[in-house]
Symmetry: C2
Subunit: 111 residues, 2 copies
């Protein structure tokens, strides 16, 4: 199976992990998503999505050592797998095709 296509939040989360790189853990991803999409996803929404991506083999995770700061408990760090990178590029191609030609389409013809 060609991994079917990613959902929108899934894709956004995948990109977030890729970008955050070493800092890619649950709450950080959530914060990043808030910045990028302009909306506030619930904690559950984010973790569920990350979990699904890992189940699909697009992400992998490992627990970090606790940090010596207040509330500094162990984090679950995510990273993109090879399959994840592929899915990512495919999504990129599709998105490009989708939006191609509509660049100057800021004023669609209304009925």
């Amino acid at each position: 199976m060609p991994a079917a296509t990613l959902g929108k939040l899934e894709l956004a989360a995948l990109l977030a992990v890729a970008r955050l790189d070493d800092e890619a853990y649950g709450l950080a991803v959530r914060a990043h998503l808030a910045g990028v999409t302009g909306r506030d996803y619930s904690v559950g929404a984010v973790y569920t999505t990350l979990q699904r991506l890992e189940d699909k083999g697009l992400l992998r995770s490992h627990a970090s050592e606790p940090l010596p700061v207040r509330g500094g408990r162990s984090r679950r760090h995510f990273s993109v797998t090879a399959a994840g990178a592929r899915a990512f590029r495919e999504a990129e191609r599709t998105a490009a095709a989708l939006w191609a030609g509509v660049g100057s389409f800021t004023k669609p013809r209304l009925a």
Copy 2:
């Protein structure tokens, strides 16, 4: 309600209608989607989506006169409403923000 965000197929269908303009009816949209996304959506998938968009007020439709060709029955033509155009632009902004900075990200760091 801020119209919630559009699903991926919904967005693709909205764009298809906008582009096809006068030729935006069920099967044509379906064909366009196939070209753009590279995958074959079932007939049902397309109509269900278009219907949803109309229910949300992002599209409107009207029946055309039957064409004098074999099988040329009346088509249901769709067009983008003002609300649809707004949704469209908002999706465009979000997509831009999402992909911004990942342009040269064709080779994500793997774990």
